[in-house]
């Protein structure tokens, strides 16, 4: 089936199997997705991408649901200012996700910062989808809060 969608800012018209998962589309059809894993249903959480701005597990999105959607993979996200701010938050806290979950965790951190989620349990619940246990919970909460502080600092500077 023909699927028209936007991936990382490029408008694409793809000819795909209608039930092909987005995680495989990114890996096989687009040759992108450095860290977009396809876990065959084990829900490892490593394939998170942004679909219409919301973090989504790409292994749960079939091709036919992509019509008219805007997808941003980590490759697209790393070119944004939001990612630069997130890197500053990592540096400030002094904690970084491991190479396995860096992409997925960064995308979920970004969505938590964008949604102003400050509640510790909410932050940890949202990140619990990633099965990798490389990060300390306190560090994860600190990164989100630091990310918000960096973003609000920018806002204040803009108003001044």
């Amino acid at each position: 089936m023909k699927v028209d969608c936007t991936i990382d800012g490029k408008t694409l018209s793809l000819s795909l199997n209608s039930d092909k998962p987005l995680s495989l589309i990114i890996n096989e059809n687009l040759g992108a997705g450095s860290g977009t894993n396809h876990c065959n249903g084990s829900l490892c959480g490593l394939c998170a991408v942004l679909v219409d701005g919301k973090p989504t597990l790409s292994c749960l999105v079939p091709a036919f649901e992509l019509r008219g959607k805007e997808v941003q993979t980590f490759d697209g996200f790393r070119r944004t200012k939001a990612f630069k701010d997130l890197e500053k938050a990592y540096d400030a806290v002094g904690a970084y996700p491991c190479s396995d979950c860096y992409e997925a965790r960064s995308i979920i951190f970004h969505s938590l910062i964008a949604d102003d989620v400050t509640d510790r349990s909410e932050i940890l619940k949202e990140l619990s989808v990633i099965k990798c246990s490389c990060m300390d919970p306190d560090d994860q909460v600190a990164i989100v809060k630091q990310g918000m502080a960096i973003r609000s600092g920018k806002r204040v500077r803009r108003i001044q």
Binding site: M1, L16, N17, S18, D19, K20, P21, L24, N40, G41, S42, L43, G45, A48, K54, P55, T56, L57, C59, L60, V61, P62, F64, E65, I108, K125, E126, L127, S128, V129
Partner: protein, 312 residues
Amino acid sequence: MLDGYSSQASMDRNIYEGLSSPNIHTPHNMAEYASIITHYPEAELWAGGTFLMSRPDSYPSRKMGREIISLASMEELHRFQRNDRFAEFGAMVTLDEVMSTGKAVLPKVLLDNIRSIGSRLITRKATIGGAIATRELSTTFPGTLISLDATVEIRFIRKKRLHSRWMQLTRMLDKNGKVSLPPGGMISRIRISFSDKDCQYFTSIGSVLSRPSEAVAIAFTASMDQDVLDNPTIAFTYPDIGILYSRDIDNIFSSLRFPLDEGEFRSLEQIVFTFIDSSIQELSRLQRARTSGILRAIIDDLNEKSLTSPAS
């Protein structure tokens, strides 16, 4: 070994990919749905897709000529309404929407069930209708909704016409404890009464999707009045087996006077396991141990409640 497996999987994928692209139907209303399901009675219904996509063999499909009816465009399945007695959800309302719209009014046992799923990356996609109507495995939702005496509206085709019927969820369980729908039938609405029961417990251990043969969930609701349970309902979910519910077990619970001592707990446990063993044979030792642990936690809490409630 792993490389051999992955190359085999990749070869399988190459063989089946391209041969098996399912046809997708997207009805916008019930009339269109009725027309499609009449033409393709074997079509697979697609709600959120969380369960279907998380099956290890979900892609590429080995079924040729597979037809999928995506319910996402049916506006009436996304509706939510409530009055002072109940909340009514369309089958396509996501669990995240259920949580956000009904946080203040919905029964604790249901909210605890949704919270137990964890991340909103899953609950934003999973729908309440899809969570009930999974075929191969039972999720924890039917058990929870049974404990709340929920009713569901079924739409089904008979003599080429679309019919509708409200049913209690308990009546939809077949003899194996699976939720069964009539051929071509779908769940369109779920009605959940606002419960004033003060003892509500939902506990789930193990992963329903990735390790169903080890997972167990128990949903329990009751009111405690003068150390006796009023209208107790308990449902056991074993994802790989089904949902176990019996009025007889509810009656056993209502005959108890709390607090229970160790001997009374042991005999209650024995009755429960006799019922479980009479219904299913394949309960694993881990599931048995987990069931016992959850049951003990519920009884301990009820004991505590009965001891701390003001004397009447």
